[in-house]
């Protein structure tokens, strides 16, 4: 994995304190977490770690949480983890979130991977997670751009994984996080300018 940074909702670099590890898989995209760990390494560790699992690998062909071997692996990871999260890619089956609410609500972290700057499904994923009552952390990773950060914050995203190049090119991180600070809020009728009394 390349060198990445995690920024919180205020644009503060929290990489130093971020200890999430992505479980190594063949299809792990770059930048899901700052580091990764294989299943074997995890099982050999004495201490419990914060581990991110690929949601799609936990599901059967019908999109349901799989039983059998996969469930056992997942249980094993959970036993060796202090906190568990999942990552999804906005490129995966769009019905993924439907029917999994109960499972998703239990996660400490959900990372949404954006496959392309113009792919806006991640915005709907984040907003839907908030609407089903998910209170944990939502993190965005992948090919999103600095100019989307303000919108992502409004759909409920808490933190952002950026690569070294993007970190260098954002001369004013504060500006990216505060763009259009007085924006209309398409999620709430009472907040529309003509109804908000402002």
């Amino acid at each position: 994995m390349g060198n990445h940074h995690v920024l919180n909702h205020e644009g503060v670099d929290i990489s130093q304190n971020d200890t999430w590890l992505a479980l190594s898989t063949n299809e792990l995209p770059d930048g899901i977490a700052l580091s990764h760990i294989s299943l074997l390494e995890l099982l050999q560790k004495q201490e419990k770690l914060e581990v991110l699992l690929p949601l799609s690998d936990l599901l059967d062909s019908a999109g349901k949480l799989a039983g059998g071997l996969l469930e056992q692996v997942s249980d094993l990871v959970t036993q060796h983890a202090s906190r568990v999260g999942v990552w999804v890619t906005a490129n995966s089956d769009t019905d993924l979130l439907i029917g999994l609410s109960e499972f998703l609500l239990q996660q400490d972290l959900i990372v949404i991977h954006v496959p392309a700057f113009t792919d806006g499904r991640g915005f709907s994923y984040a907003q839907t997670l908030r609407q089903i009552g998910y209170k944990g952390e939502i993190r965005i990773a992948g090919q999103f751009g600095r100019d989307q950060i303000a919108y992502l914050l409004r759909t409920g995203v808490d933190s952002f994984v950026l690569n070294e190049h993007d970190m260098q090119s954002i001369s004013d991180i504060n500006q990216a996080f505060n763009a259009l600070s007085s924006s209309y809020d398409g999620r709430n009728a009472a907040a529309l300018p003509m109804f908000s009394g402002s």
Binding site: Q127, I132, F195
Partner: protein
């Protein structure tokens, strides 16, 4: 008309600064092209054949004289002294410089205007009936709902990177003057049996490469659910719409692929699960607030018999005025008033063809003055690329007509063959396959006799320079589509389209004709109409009705036989 409050104004000002920064970073090489592209599009900026094109939003077509004066000033200062009104009631500038655009946007913001979401894969400017609020048979004024939709959709954080563009149109009368059936979402205001207001909701209409008529997915949506339901439609589209092929990415393809009922079911499931009765639910108080921005102007009371009698004298005395009155004015719900359609289809003026929808800076200034004097300082844009003064005193029509005439803005051709919808075509647009202006000029020269045009009656002629169909050629009584054949421009003709209540896609007449033959081919088609139409004392069969009745075979025979 809606007036920006502090929040609106702050926001457009912030948007200008945001885009100024994005442009600066792009020009400095800090912002990659693939990210700047969607960002500039969402600020209305295309890169066209010779120069950028800036599309400025006119929300639901309604604007004020002071805004038009600013547009005139901008076209003088930053462009070549004219603007182009589009079918979606926006105005386009064809020659701005990329580095000037942030300054242009700042000027626009000073008069409560912007170019936000006029382009790109997001929710575009909502359109409506140009006669909103003045029609006798209106069920309800659509403008308050348009403004609610504008505020919801502008900068909606979830829907700025959709699979493809998304267009909404709203109408408040049974007669559809906003082509709602060929929009991504069409909303028809209606009342239920209990007398409550709501909407019939259509989805999945659209033209372009795959023309489709929208399907009703909800026969009555109570109005308090307007935004939560639209939100559900947009989310289903955002998550399920195709992203692998831009020609298959519009919502119409998604709706077609699963069928209207299945799509409706998905929307209902999404709505019930996540947005219904949530924070997007609108209240009666909200509707009262929204409606308060669209109150009636201070109409005067007249001795209507006197006004009518005076007007009749003017009509009798001046045939040109009578023609204009008959073609270019529309009934008003208030006695003593008419709506006036200002034709932006001047045709050939001083030997030069004026493209459909084009207005010069001096015409803009003059129109702003006339709007102040004759129509409560407001103007409206129409789907047919014309303008409307909605509230003109009948006793001032004659003097208004005289002044419009000197500006070449009183051509009495509304709803006739030369009231053409024409896209800019090859001359400006980098997507176009063929020129359109030279063909429109050829048609103007062939059909320049007004009495002949009046005899032909109501005919909608729409011409697009490529299959993207910006001029809606599919829904014209006569549609002309420019195609490229080995580097030459040819023109395919279709007949029998309609964008109103009886919306349908025209049928292709046959193989395309060369550029030189378009007007003569039209002449043959019109000859068939004049030969075969059925008339009685009350009624003359309209062109579209004849095509419905006899099909395209007789036209085909005449043109190719």
């Amino acid at each position: 008309m809606y007036q920006y409050n502090y929040a609106d104004q702050t926001l457009v000002d912030e948007r200008v600064e945001q885009f100024r920064d994005q442009t600066k970073r792009f020009l400095a090489g800090e912002l990659p092209e693939e990210q700047f592209l969607p960002l500039r599009l969402q600020n209305g900026l295309y890169i066209q054949r010779y120069a950028p094109m800036l599309r400025i939003a006119i929300p639901y077509g309604l604007f004020a004289s002071y805004q038009l004066r600013k547009l005139a000033e901008i076209t003088r200062k930053y462009d070549k002294g004219y603007g182009h009104f589009t079918t979606r009631t926006n105005i386009q500038l064809n020659w701005p410089k990329l580095e000037d655009v942030p300054d242009i946007l700042a000027e626009l913001a000073s008069v409560q205007m912007h170019a936000i979401q006029t382009s790109g894969n997001c929710i575009r400017n909502t359109t409506t009936d140009p006669y909103a609020g003045i029609h006798q048979e209106e069920i309800a004024d659509p403008r308050p709902y348009c403004e609610i939709i504008r505020q919801w959709s502008t900068f909606h954080p979830e829907f700025a990177f959709l699979p493809r563009k998304f267009k909404i149109a709203v109408v408040g009368t049974a007669n559809d003057r906003a082509a709602t059936q060929v929009h991504d979402v069409g909303l028809h205001l209606k009342t239920n049996e209990a007398g409550e207001l709501g909407f019939e909701v259509l989805v999945g209409g659209g033209l372009g490469r795959t023309p489709v008529i929208g399907k009703v997915i909800n026969e009555f949506l109570p109005r308090q659910h307007l935004l939560s339901y639209l939100d559900a439609i947009l989310r289903v589209y955002n998550l399920h719409g195709r992203r692998d092929n831009k020609y298959k990415a519009r919502i119409k393809i998604l709706v077609e692929s699963m069928g209207g009922p299945a799509f409706a079911k998905l929307v209902d499931a999404e709505w019930e699960a996540h947005t219904k009765d949530g924070p997007l639910t609108l209240t009666e108080e909200n509707f009262a607030t929204a409606s308060s921005f669209f109150t009636e102007p201070d109409y005067l009371a007249f001795d209507t018999l006197q006004v009518q009698s005076d007007l009749q004298k003017q009509l009798d005395a001046d045939k040109d005025f009578a023609n204009w009155y008959n073609q270019n004015t529309v009934a008003h719900k208030v006695a003593g008033y008419r709506a006036v359609v200002i034709s932006l289809k001047a045709g050939v003026v001083d030997g030069r063809y004026v493209p459909s929808g084009d207005v010069s800076e001096s015409q803009m200034d003059a129109l702003a003055d006339l709007a102040d004097k004759y129509s409560f300082s407001e103007l409206r844009g129409t789907y047919q690329q014309n303008l409307v003064f909605a509230d003109v005193q009948a006793n001032q029509l004659y003097e208004l007509w005289q002044q419009l005439s000197t500006l070449h803005l009183a051509r009495a051709n509304i709803n006739t063959l030369t009231d053409m919808i024409v896209c800019p075509g090859w001359d400006y647009c980098s997507l176009a396959n063929a020129t359109t202006h030279n063909i429109a000029e050829q048609i103007e020269k062939q059909f320049d006799d007004l009495d002949y045009l009046y005899d032909l009656g109501e005919i909608r002629l729409n011409m697009s320079g490529c299959m993207n169909a910006c001029a809606h050629h599919h829904t014209g009584d006569i549609g002309i589509l420019g195609v490229d054949k080995k580097g030459e421009h040819w023109y395919q003709i279709s007949l029998g389209g309609n964008s109103s209540n009886d919306a349908k896609i025209g049928k292709i007449l046959g193989k395309a004709v060369p550029a030189t033959d378009v007007a003569v081919t039209l002449q043959k088609i019109l000859d068939v109409y004049l030969e075969q139409r059925v008339s009685n004392e009350q009624d003359v069969e309209r062109f579209g009705d004849l095509v419905d009745r006899v099909g395209i075979a007789p036209f085909k025979e005449k043109v190719y036989g």
